[in-house]
């Protein structure tokens, strides 16, 4: 891999890691398979692009964060108050957000940000200028990592994690799980939207379709991180998610350099995640098949049973 491609995948990996941490909160901590991500990622990017185009790149990130919070509340309420299944609730919100995202973008499908001042311009004139695209997302990511870790170690954080483990137990201990799910989902989608907002300014455009498959990329990052870097402690799990996101970008970068057409990207992502999810079952079945084959081999070579 060329250095340029390596540097690019690290930078992208850092931005996508923020989204992956959001997916980690919903999928892993709350055990809520939230497909809203595909929509809320674009919501973040849309607010970011519109405010950036009007000269407020920093506010673009802040508003994206708030919009993501609100977007995340909707599937949580659909599930807890109206008892719609999590997957379906997410799909409904994702669909609805498509229209909202278009409205935010002024009914344009694409907003270019070429030659606009972005958050990456704030290091201009300092010695760090050349590394702005690496450093700014990195600082944001580290702050989020530390805050998230501290949050998950508070009393509220304990109930948030326990809700995903065993909601019945949390209710039996006097905590309203509707509220913990609501706050957790708001937090999750806030991070997703922030990631979209950063990506919009990083790549200098927002496209209405840029969120397609985002939840799969997030999940891929979480799973790759868990498999490669381990889950022994909470901090390790969070860092594993981040490293997983970077590793995923690198795998994609290598595949592209080896001549994979960019149009095949989503197919490859989907296949990767399907394989990773199926791995425990494949391992089990392979073991059973091996035993069956060796047993049949014995029967053929030796005495017949019965």
């Amino acid at each position: 891999m060329s250095f340029l491609a390596f540097q690019g995948s690290i930078e992208l990996g850092i931005i996508y890691a923020i989204m992956a941490l959001g997916v980690f909160i919903s999928f892993r901590t709350l055990n809520f398979p939230d497909l809203t991500v595909d929509g809320s990622f674009v919501t973040g990017a849309a607010f970011s692009a519109v405010l950036c185009a009007n000269g407020y790149p920093g506010w673009g990130l802040v508003l994206a964060l708030l919009a993501g919070c609100m977007a995340g509340c909707v599937p949580a309420l659909l599930h807890t108050k109206l008892e719609i299944q999590p997957l379906l609730a997410g799909i409904l919100v994702m669909l609805g957000l498509y229209s909202i995202n278009l409205k935010v973008m002024g009914t344009r499908a694409n907003i270019p940000l070429v030659n606009k001042t972005t958050v990456f311009s704030c290091l201009e004139g300092t010695p760090l200028e050349a590394h702005a695209q690496l450093l700014i997302p990195l600082v944001i990511l580290i702050v989020i990592l530390i805050l998230l870790y501290l949050l998950l170690k508070t009393k509220f954080g304990f109930t948030l994690r326990a809700t995903g483990d065993n909601a019945q137990m949390v209710r039996a201990l006097g905590v309203n799980t509707d509220t913990t799910i609501l706050i957790g989902m708001a937090l999750s989608n806030a991070l997703v939207a922030l990631s979209g907002a950063l990506l919009a300014q990083y790549q200098s455009f927002t496209d209405i379709g840029m969120g397609i498959g985002m939840v799969v990329i997030g999940l891929a990052s979480v799973i790759i991180g868990e498999v490669v870097f381990g889950i022994s402690s909470l901090m390790r799990r969070l860092i594993a998610v981040i490293l997983g996101a970077m590793l995923y970008r690198m795998i994609i970068a290598v595949a592209l350099e080896m001549g994979m057409p960019a149009t095949d990207l989503k197919l490859v992502s989907a296949t990767l995640v399907a394989l990773a999810l199926a791995m425990p079952v494949i391992k089990k079945k392979a073991g059973f098949y091996k035993r069956k084959m060796s047993a049949e081999g014995l029967n053929r070579g030796g005495k017949k049973i019965g």
Partner: protein, 264 residues
């Protein structure tokens, strides 16, 4: 202390599967009273506990705890005053969290939650002392995940968690049914100690007839959603498992059919 008045619960109302699970039950418990509940399959024992705990909405009647009418309170709000241990050892704890984290959630019950530190040093010291009382060696495994514990260890831990915040009412739903006899005995003895220590008002559903008479101070028998027998004091003291089963036959007009029933 606890008053249940005219409680009724109907499942699948208006369908062909309609079932009157609880039929106009009245039950009053005094402070510190420990009631054991026995009955056949489908007698409504667990449903009664679920109606008190707020897991099921009730169709008629009132549930009053102390001076508070909590008939229309949601489950989580009632839980601040009610401790519970379930039959399934998996239900009472968070398996992917450590023992000390589970205890911290239980200890925080009814206190302001928010962004305080999950566990303080003082908490740890207190958790260790409480765990030592269980005599299961859990005090040396506080950083281990609950998923690594056996069913009996989990039930003992759940019992500790349920009584930690000193509830006004403790509900035990066949909490030893899934355990081997030795462990069941141990958890029952722990139950007696904890109930006695905190002077807790307790309702224990059990499939063990002997335990029903041996533990607690009052025994009620349920059949088809009604209380068909309510004994305490001398009458209860003289009761044996054999006479209890006979009584059930004469009062309900059927044989006692509980497929998990233990006679001794």
């Amino acid at each position: 202390m606890v008053k249940i008045e005219g409680l009724s619960k109907i499942f699948d109302q208006g369908t062909t599967n309609e079932k009157l699970a609880i039929d106009n039950i009245n039950l009053a418990l005094e402070a510190g009273e420990f009631v054991t509940v026995i009955g056949g399959n489908g007698a409504g024992k667990s449903t009664l506990l679920n109606c008190i705990a707020g897991v099921c909405e009730i169709d008629a009647g009132r549930v009053v705890l102390g001076n508070v009418d909590m008939t229309f309170w949601p489950e989580y709000k009632r839980s601040r005053y009610i401790g519970r241990v379930f039959q399934d050892p998996l239900k009472g704890t968070a398996f992917d969290m450590t023992i000390e984290e589970n205890l911290a959630i239980a200890y925080a019950k009814g206190k302001p939650q928010g962004l305080r530190r999950g566990i303080t040093k003082a908490d740890l010291q207190m958790f260790r002392e409480r765990l030592t009382l269980l005599d299961l060696g859990l005090e040396d495994r506080m950083k281990q995940k609950v998923g690594t514990l056996s069913g009996g260890q989990r039930q003992a831990l759940t019992l500790l968690m349920a009584t930690m915040a000193e509830p006004q009412l403790l509900l035990l739903d066949e909490h030893t049914a899934a355990l081997d006899p030795g462990m069941a005995k141990k958890v029952l003895l722990l139950t007696r100690d904890m109930v006695g220590e905190h002077h807790l008002c307790t309702i224990m559903v059990t499939h063990n007839m002997k335990a029903a008479l041996e533990y607690g101070s009052r025994t009620i028998m349920m059949h088809e959603g009604r209380i068909i027998m309510d004994i305490r004091g001398q009458e209860r003291g003289e009761m044996t498992v054999e006479t209890l089963i006979k009584q059930f036959g004469s009062r309900s007009g059927t044989e006692l059919d509980n497929d998990r029933l233990l006679l001794n």
